[in-house]
Amino acid sequence: MNDHVRVDTSPHVSDEVQKTTCYMCACRCGINVHLRDDGTGTKKIRYIEGNNDHPVNRGVLCAKGSAGIMQHYSPARLRKPLKRVGERGEGKFEEIEWDEALEIATGWLGDVRKDDPKKLAFFTGRDQSQSFTGWWAQQFGTPNFAAHGGFCSVNMAAAGIYTFGGAFWEFGSPDWKHTELFMLFGVAEDHDSNPIKLGLAELKRRGKKTIAINPVRTGYNAVADEWVGITPGTDGLFVLALVHELLKAGKVDVDYLLRYTNAPWLVIDAPGTADHGLFARDADGNALVLDRESKKAIPYNGKGVKPDLRGEIQLDNGLTARPAFRLLTDKYLDGQYAPEMVSERTGVSADQIRSIAAQLAEAAFEKEIVIERAWTDMKGERHEKMIGRPVAMHAMRGISAHSNGFQTCRSIHLLQILLGSIDCPGGFRYKPPYPRPVHAQPAPHGGGEAGKPLAGPQLGFMRGPQGLLLEEDGVTPQRIDKAYSWDAPMSSHGLMHMVIANAHARDPYGVDVLFMYMANMSWNSSMNTSGVMKMLTDKDENGDYVIPKIIYSDAYSSEMVAFADLVFPDTTYLERHDAISMLDRPISEPEGVADAIRWPVLEPDRDVRGFQSVLVDLGARLGLPGMTNEDGSQKFKDYADYIQKHQRKPGIGPLMGWRGEDGSKTGRGEPNPEQIDRYIENGGFSLTHVPDEAMYYKFANKAWQDFATEMGLQDGPVECVFQLYLEPMAQFRLCAQGLAEPKTPDTHKQRILDCFDPLPDWYAPFEGEGIEASEYPFHALTQRPAAMYHSWGSQNAWLRQIHGHNPMFVPADICDAVGLETGDWAWVSSHHGKIKVPVKRMDAVNGKTIWTWNAIGKRKGAWALSDGAPEAEKGFLLNHLIHELLPPKEDGMRWSNSDPITGQAAWFDLRVNIEKAEAGEAESLPQFPAQDGPVPDGDGPLRYGAAWLKEFMTR
């Protein structure tokens, strides 16, 4: 038989290829969706692949993205609006029409807005439309809006913005092309997942070294050239030991510090006065530096100033002041940061710390990169070349989710800045619209008057104690999550993890309507999952639910659906419009300004609507400003219409590409009624290259400032001086000392004094301090598996085969000490709870740390899975062990289990004990009664693609 005729090597693939944006995680890759007639005249997805031209993923696609077909056709998809008929949590619903659903919601929300808008708590989860949902909430008038950043990674965003006007997360990127040494802190799969993989590949190709700092040596950490198996929560100490070594050896970029940072700014040394720790300023508020020539204190931005970094000066008012750098060297040269002093606590040998410090210095200063490209700084000085200190860093969740995460992340930025490696060739680069320092960010707005919109956005960056969102008494938080109160003064994303607990405790007040979107709060998106379920179902003395009304929108039959009173069924990601907007979190890369859309490449086959379109409709029904025409009619037909027509400022809208009536403008321009069509023609995104001269040093680069202004990213030049010394922290300390207004309540004084060091600092994570270390000697963590994203993956017929259940990985030493073997079951306990889990022995992990994959465990009955699904039988959540509150202090006070600065949920502070469970049923505990689903369980077998099977199998 002739081989050539046995197989068709050039078969027809698909009838059409539509380009949109993936939504299987937060990475926002470009995808080509191949569609093909299934033989019945229905378009079906033949194949989803990466879009080769897309700036984020350049043609590649991860496991999640490749499993999009199964997500789209999931049997767990909701089909119609739902009204609860059983008790909350049971999952008993009746399907209702959209009109009825919208009328119910309008009734509930209208009453709230008329009486007291803050009685609406509107929190969204993993959506990517916060510039719209926030704007909607602002028009509604409630201060109680946030997305899920507070339990996600706000510490990274806040520490970054406050320090250098950028951030890790997906807001910046290592300069993969030029870096010589890359350090990766606390990253498993995360935001920017494909770009990081592409970047690691590039480093491997170039033969450049990666050092991974992570208690667990899997994934990216497995391929790193050097592994630092750090003890959780001690990264800051490790980093400050590196700082100690570098300072001791004089390996810092003094020129960079002088030009671009507040290292020379004079800090007043006057303990006991209201000026202590603040910058010395002139009458115009300009910070002063000590000029080396004149020996005088003059404004830092004066012409020809030559600032000192080490001296001391008596100011005109008689107070002494020293450059911030002097404080900094005094602090970090102290012996407590010496490698041998931190070694035991961090679990990193002094030799390794010293070796890494030496590698950093060598890469930064011996392997300096010079790009022959002239640029001009914002002071007008021309530089003939771009100098690079090719050390790049990236950090995420493992740093963030600790109660010391803000300071730890600041410590990493300090290290980067001392090396001169922010936004230089080979360093860590901003992605547009960044840099955007605090003074170019909105301030948070509270208040909330009946029937009126809020004066500004709810979320923003706190400038100092004066801006706290407190009631008249100076103590009571205005917000339900207590963001921007003494609990979390520099919260930047809100505290979603506290909303339900506070609303349930009616502290500071109760709410009437809890309105949530894509947030699985009754399961993996909460600490203390069992507690949250109880809070959602608790009734008061009248027999009414303590949280009276819950509206929830989700595309799937998640655990949270069962707890809602009213459910808006959302579409899948292939059936919807979205703007991945410059107003929010665009898809820019360091060398290109880019945003993107999603659009319905398939029409829903169910009675569902995109949630944002529902909000547009509700907004009009409620008569919200901006969403209603003068005659009271609905202003935007749907979300797509809003995306094209809405202007945040004249000429600035959700999308930056093809603006202007004829689509000829970029960044600024009038709305274009055909804008979305232009995006579709271009593959679903818009990309504008950053001019060559503006590629680096964006924080001080005139060409960048001009370009950013022209593109509408900012309204004019924005100065960005790196804040090594963070003055607002000093202000909060003054309040805590009673030296400044508003005065800190007694309860919070010590904590602010302890944690609000204006220089990056390390303190022990709170949970470990609140328990007996001998009782809970181990750390417990979760990591996101690369092939699964939170709970969404569990319904996915393909992904759930890869991760159908999760073991607890236990280091060999602990196994031997406790008598555990692979296959055993164990009890893991914390100060809050106890779970029963299957055990797997592991060596490549920090010896004090047990860990598991995140969010594999499921509640029975959810996600259209069988009750005997392995996710429910053997899978488990660590969340049951984590309380939203810390163990009680001596005075009975229970603090939020959060970073005291930002309110970031500190789920990685968790401390546990583990012991062997007696032989019994092989079932993880706790278990919950199965929830009813509003959709029938999925069935099988699945023969996806059989529709296109032609001659095969029939002969």
Binding site: Q801, I802, H803, G804, H805, M842, A844, P870
Partner: protein
Amino acid sequence: MHPAVSVIFFTVTSGAGFGLMFLIGLGWPMPQGGLGVFIALALAGALAVAGLVSSTFHLGHPERAWRAVSQWRSSWLSREGVLAIITLMLFGVYAFLWFFFDIRSTALGLFMSVGSVATVFATAMIYAQLKTIPMWQTWLTPACYLAFSLTLGLVLAGMLSGNGVVGGLPTALWASLSIVLAWVLKMMWWNRAGSIGFSTTGSSVGSATGLGSIGDVKLFERPHTGENYLTREMVHQIGRKHANKLRLIAVGLGALLPVLLMLLAATGVVPTLFLALAAMSLLAGLFAERWLFFAEAKHAVSLYY
């Protein structure tokens, strides 16, 4: 390896059928008269065919089984099919002549006997050829298959012929000699299997992954948390206790009890009954032996799991 019932049944039963056929072809004493001949022929044919039919239950697409005869130049499975068909065809002609014309053709019988041996040998070689399963890859595998096939044939022949005498010895004694030979071979096989591991090829987790030069290699995570075709088919785990019990059953029913029954048959008292009981016991014992043959076999793929 997964011990599939259809394959266990196939190897044992067709072994018995072709064993009997082998003896018929040699002209071994058989019952006289139309009915006797019919029973002998029917038994041999039925066992061989039932075995072959059973083997198709193992196939995903039995309706295409006919395709399996095409690749005799390279495939032992194909050879087995071809040989079985040829042997059965010879048997058909032989049976026709014998039943209708009472002619036992010596030449045809010899061909049939050779075919029977070859068929059983080919069956065994399906397993013995596999480098991936060192436990099977030995001359002892076909030797055991042939010896057990012969033993089954002898016990059945003895049962059919009322313990007919050949070369001065009753069939039961021939069978006893054969069963001793078979179990000596099987003990050698087990002995080898107990220690062989992957030593024939030297394969190890280290060579399977290529990582052995770095250090000690062990599985961290399976590729998927659930079972898959490979784990079900080739990474079959059997408990040591379970295996020991089955070995006792195999030896008890497959060796000790049949020998006892054959010795009883040799006394001349109702030999047919004793030999029939011996045959049943032997079949049962060999089912256990064959179950273990599969269940205990370690496939190279298990190095990845």
